[in-house]
């Protein structure tokens, strides 16, 4: 296992370390744009930067999957002592670690910003940690969807198939909404009932744990699909 960790570190250390830089995105956006848009709310700018950092970090997390969709590598790692399950476990742990590092960096930079802002007596400088925390879990969910597609179909084909699936899903949701347009008030009322003040914290916390469970489930699914995917690589 140490060998696999070493391989991942050697291959992807810059991607891993770039997570720290992505955490600076809210601050960078604020510093770059506060001159351009003088009247803009600083918190809004930081949230914009946070989303930009989130997208950049997501793209970088996907880049660590590149290069493993080769038949020869697939056969070799399957025959190794750790097997393909060990290899996939290290990949999943590494990507999870990257998300945690990104979140940690974001929150640390945010704390630093709030400290400096407090010294400058900026009373409107609120923390964006809670949004960062929720985005972090969204990232875990997105990676749980991305990784099985990549290993089952290869990097390029996998992204394409995932895109098609997402489009189909979006069309289905739209179709359901259009078909129920007359009942929209009832649906809204139902949703409001479920997400009321008493339930919201429970639903949120359960949702977060479900994201973690889905990430683990994604690992198990990828383990099942990996060998089928290997047969199609280099095709």
């Amino acid at each position: 296992m140490t060998g696999l960790v070493y391989k991942e570190w050697k291959q992807n250390r810059w991607f891993i370390l770039s997570m720290i830089l992505c955490g600076f995105a809210p601050l960078l956006v604020l510093l770059l744009l506060r001159g351009e848009i003088p009247n803009a709310d600083h918190t809004a700018l930081r949230i914009g930067g946070l989303i930009a950092g989130f997208l950049a970090a997501g793209a970088l997390q996907m880049l660590v999957l590149r290069g493993d969709d080769r038949k020869l590598w697939g056969y070799w790692i399957t025959a190794s002592a750790d097997g393909y399950k060990g290899f996939l476990r290290v990949k999943y742990e590494m990507i999870f670690g990257m998300i945690v590092l990104f979140l940690f960096s974001l929150q640390f930079v945010d704390m630093g910003y709030c400290a400096v802002a407090a010294d400058m007596e900026k009373t409107d400088a609120g923390s964006i940690n809670d949004i960062a925390f929720l985005l972090g879990f969204m990232q875990i969910l997105f990676r749980a969807i991305d990784i099985p597609f990549t290993y089952r179909f290869g990097s390029k084909k996998g992204s394409f198939i995932k895109l098609i699936c997402m489009v189909i899903l979006a069309i289905l949701i739209c179709a359901v909404l259009v078909l129920n347009v007359d009942n929209m008030d009832r649906i809204t009322e139902m949703v409001r009932k479920v997400f009321n003040e008493n339930n919201s914290s429970l639903i949120l916390s359960v949702g977060l744990v479900v994201c973690l469970a889905l990430y683990y489930l994604s690992y198990r699914i990828t383990c099942r699909l990996y060998l089928k995917g290997v047969e199609q690589y280099d095709g």
Binding site: T2, V100, Q107, G112, A115, S201, S205, L208, C211
Partner: protein, 284 residues
Amino acid sequence: MTAKKENAQRLGIYLLIVSLFVLLFFVYRKLMNESNTVFFIIYYLLFSFSPAIASLITRAVTKEGFRDMKLHLKLEKNIKWYLLAFGLPLIFFSARILLPIIVSGHSEWFDRFTFQNVLASVFMLAALSTVQSIGLLGEELGWRGYMNQKMEPLFGTVGTCLLGGILWSLWHLPMDLAGWLDGEGSLSDSLMMCGGRMLLLTSFGTFLMWLTKKTDSVFPAVVAHFMFNQSQGALGGFLSQGNIPENVDLGMIASVFEYVPMVILAGIFTGLLLREKKNAPKTA
């Protein structure tokens, strides 16, 4: 140089570096009180990571290398110990905070403890512990990942639990003395706080040491340490929203429950550490 001397030298360098960081806290205390930025730099950037920084510097200076830092997750083999790391501090703090209230007959204070609220809180702690506990690597990499390893050959298992716990709590001294130094409390209050923390951390450190040795990874200790910090907040949060009269004092019962469960826990895990040491295969 014998292995024992080498260990003592490394431990000495490590403790010297950590104490320099503690000193930094005292030297810049006034500035820290005046400026949030200085507080952030000294406390969050330097002090809270000082055990990890000290262990890395010591490894580099003594040319010991960076192997055996116990940074593997080892999740698959140790999932039950990770769950224990999550659950035990939560159970302990529930016993510590809630039992005295129940025993003293004030169950009406629990009006915020509905099943739904408690469940939400446990799930939230579970989610938080997976993504936000990483900051505590700054401590655990030093205390459990380095100091304990160097101490055990020198002072034995029980000695490491005791001395390691005392040193760990002394590292918190700047926080304990802050009130007195700022003129907001008496020295005896600060020393009482320091003594209480020493008892708690020495006891809890035994569990963290056992976890690290059992799993050969510092991450379960990181999770347990995170839960140690957060469980108090979660339970305190519920209680503060409840219907509790101001300046309430539960007297002796609260003091007993404050420490007794943790001392029992320490006894159990010291026993386990000694048993496992006895059963471990002897190496030449």
